[in-house]
């Protein structure tokens, strides 16, 4: 019985199948919202209101020819996208989705899994850099370098923002943090600054418009993914989708009090909380022009880092008062 449960856990519910389907759904929601903000219809033909468009794109890319640059290192070129998807998928497994019972909160949560999820989520950035570096294209090389420069800018504020609520809840276990905030919902207000810093840094991690300097299409024409076609590009786009879902899930568990209840209720909470975060992300995508790399680095050290430090100070004060 336990084996069936783990297989079910791994491959169906919070595992492979659910993440794949849900991430394509989230990409559709994002594209539809972005279009509606700009007074456009958005994807329309595949499925009802274009809901199957991301899947259609994925299949189309799979069919396309997979060109590998001559001087590129073949194995690394093919290996990187697959490795990227696995890291982000494993990060997805540790979100406290399926609360079996009050004593054993989530299926495979252990103290300190917040650090693991944060680490697994920042691994794709390294993969983007390697992808850019290995495709021996002048563009991609420069795109890769830019990815790393941005990594230093947004990584510190993101980690500080996430650890704020963990400190308040007094534990490194995602499920316990979630349960702590379920019991004291009023304390959620304390982390409001952390929530916004987390949102902005997640937008930077996903390289979306205000911060999409590494693969700005009018400038770098694809940046790190310049040389990837067919299968490789399909996997990388899927990778960014799943990263968006898992990132939103992480923010939801930490800042919005997790997903109480059994399978169905937990799933319902997971869906409406991540959709709110994705709506905020696409609102940010529609509202701003692209920053230059120096403006971005200056912005994050000038504003984001101090804000997250203030957030930590508030959390410590509140914890003291508790």
């Amino acid at each position: 019985m336990a084996v069936v449960k783990t297989l079910l856990y791994l491959f169906v519910y919070p595992g492979l199948l659910f993440l794949l389907l849900y991430s394509t759904f989230c990409e559709w929601v994002d594209r539809k919202l972005y279009a509606r903000f700009q007074n456009r219809i958005g994807p329309q033909y595949t499925g009802k209101q274009g809901i199957l468009q991301p899947i259609a794109d994925f299949i189309k890319l799979l069919v396309k020819e997979d060109i590998v640059p001559e001087k590129a290192d073949k194995t690394m070129f093919h290996f990187l996208p697959v490795f990227g998807i696995t890291t982000v998928m494993t990060a997805g497994l540790y979100l406290p989705l399926w609360n079996v019972s009050s004593i054993v909160p989530a299926y495979n949560s252990f103290p300190g899994d917040i650090i693991l999820v944060a680490y697994l989520l920042s691994l794709p950035t390294l993969i983007f850099f390697l992808a850019g570096w290995h495709s021996t294209n002048v563009f991609a090389g420069i795109g890769g370098v830019r990815v790393l420069t941005m990594l230093f800018a947004y990584e510190v504020p993101l980690l500080l923002a996430i650890l704020g609520p963990a400190l308040l809840a007094g534990s490194w276990r995602l499920a316990e943090i979630a349960r702590f905030f379920q019991h004291h919902p009023s304390l959620l207000i304390v982390n409001i600054i952390g929530f916004f810093v987390g949102l902005i840094t997640l937008q930077a991690k996903l390289e979306r418009v205000p911060f999409d300097i590494p693969h700005a299409e009018t400038e770098l024409a694809g940046g790190t993914f310049a040389e990837y076609t067919g299968r490789g590009l399909a996997y990388f786009r899927l990778l960014t989708d799943i990263q968006m879902v898992v990132g939103a899930g992480l923010l939801a568990t930490v800042f919005m009090g997790g997903f109480p209840g059994g399978i169905l209720l937990g799933l319902f909470h997971f869906i409406w909380k991540t959709l709110i975060i994705i709506a905020l992300l696409s609102l940010m995508r529609a509202g701003y022009a692209r920053l230059r790399i120096d403006q971005m680095v200056e912005f994050s050290w000038h504003w984001l880092a101090p804000l997250s430090v203030i957030q930590l100070a508030i959390v410590l004060l509140v914890k003291g008062a508790l």
Binding site: Q38, N39, V138, F139, P210, I213, E219, L220, A286, G287
Partner: protein, 401 residues
């Protein structure tokens, strides 16, 4: 060490090809030179073979965005030669179409400039508003861009009552939208940060190099053919020239938005007191002997036609000078001692109607002499790396209003 870049002729965006050779020393461009003629259609020779009526539609296709400007200049010239005077109502309709075209041309440019710096929502909004103007033009003249509303002796279609009311309503709506974009430009930090201080053209340079249109008005030169050489019904319409003296890309944006607002007021004024009566007068087929110079204020600048007729129904000589050709020497000047980083933005800023920057640049490596192809986008990445090293403190730019 001097080495050369040739920004050659292909560009996937909407522009026609031109080749620009930049010699740069380190990071500063010391000399720029340009080469035209990639789409030289031999229009003046063609015009000598066609009759005046056919030339009317030939001149309309000189420029894809401001087609009405060329056919109006040509029609005005030939009408002077024929010695006929179009009726008041015909001239008023011609001026309305001219101003509507100026609006949609400026809105188009605002969208393209916003897309250049990655601000896609603004691009979508400006182009959606442009659709209103194009719908008005389509309802009046039957086509969105090539209106073919001009003919010798007046216009071919009239504006009836309900068209008048829809236009007034749309113009009021557009007026609100333009005001919104204006204060959006003031408050949106990313816009001003990317536009101010780029592409300097001093007032003396603008005068020396005979620059025209918004490029020269942004450097403080008060040259506007609607005021200097008023034709059509501009003499009896109250409006002033849009000026700004910051001499850079931000100034050109300001001048164009001011012109949008003045165009709205002109159209409202003309529609409110549209003289009634005939819209066209009978025009002879053969044009008596003579020569004429007709000048017109196109959205991009002064547009001049020199027509010489020899009594037959085909012109002896037609000389056309599009406004962008006059701005090229100014562009060459603007590109001198400027960072490579700013080349893409300066090009988009003069709203080139017949020129563009190409995606592939050929760099001659000074040491080995081996030409190394890099693409325009990589030029922009070097731009960003350059700016990263130079770590500009946030400059305090005041919106020059």
């Amino acid at each position: 060490m001097k080495n050369k870049i040739t920004i050659g002729p292909q560009h996937p965006a909407l522009k026609e090809p031109i080749s620009l050779r930049l010699t740069y020393d380190g990071d500063i461009i010391t000399d720029a030179d340009l080469r035209l003629g990639y789409t030289h259609r031999g229009l003046e020779k063609l015009a000598e073979g066609k009759s005046y009526i056919q030339n009317l539609y030939l001149t309309e296709r000189i420029c894809g965005i401001c087609s009405h400007s060329h056919t109006t200049a040509f029609a005005l010239g030939v009408e002077q030669l024929m010695g006929i005077e179009p009726p008041k109502r015909g001239t008023a309709i011609r001026t309305i179409i001219a101003e509507l075209e100026r609006i949609h041309s400026h809105l188009l440019w605002l969208g393209v400039a916003a897309h250049e710096i990655g601000f896609d929502s603004f691009f979508m909004y400006t182009w959606r508003d442009r659709e209103h103007v194009l719908d008005i033009l389509e309802s009046i003249s039957g086509n969105r861009i090539h209106y073919a509303i001009n003919t010798f002796g007046g216009v071919r279609r009239d504006i009836d009552q309900d068209q008048r009311s829809t236009i007034l309503e749309q113009i009021a709506h557009l007026q609100k939208r333009t005001e919104y974009y204006l204060n959006l430009g003031k408050t949106e930090p990313t816009l001003t940060a990317r536009l101010a201080g780029v592409g300097k053209l001093s007032k003396e340079q603008a005068i020396d190099l005979c620059a025209v249109g918004p490029t020269t008005r942004a450097s403080g030169v008060a040259q506007d053919i609607r005021k200097d050489d008023p034709s059509l019904s501009y003499p009896d319409v109250p409006f002033e020239i849009a000026l700004s003296d910051t001499c850079d890309v931000l100034g050109r944006v300001v001048v164009r938005i001011k012109e949008l607002i003045s165009s709205y007021t002109i159209i409202e004024y003309l529609l409110k007191n549209l003289p009634d009566g005939e819209i066209r007068v009978k025009a002879p087929r053969k044009v008596p002997e003579g020569e004429v110079i007709s000048r017109y204020e196109a959205p991009r600048g002064e547009n001049i036609h020199y027509i010489k007729s020899n009594g037959t129904d085909k012109p002896e000589r037609l000389k056309v000078r599009a406004p962008t050709l006059a701005n090229y020497p100014a562009t060459v000047e603007m590109l001198k001692n400027v960072f490579i980083a700013d080349v893409p933005l300066i090009f988009a800023a003069i709203d080139p109607c017949v020129c563009c920057a190409e995606r592939v640049i050929e760099l001659v490596d000074s040491h080995t002499g081996r030409p190394e192809i890099i693409t325009m986008s990589q030029l922009r990445t070097e731009a960003n790396n350059y700016y990263r090293k130079k770590n500009i403190r946030n400059k305090e730019y005041l919106w020059p209003w």
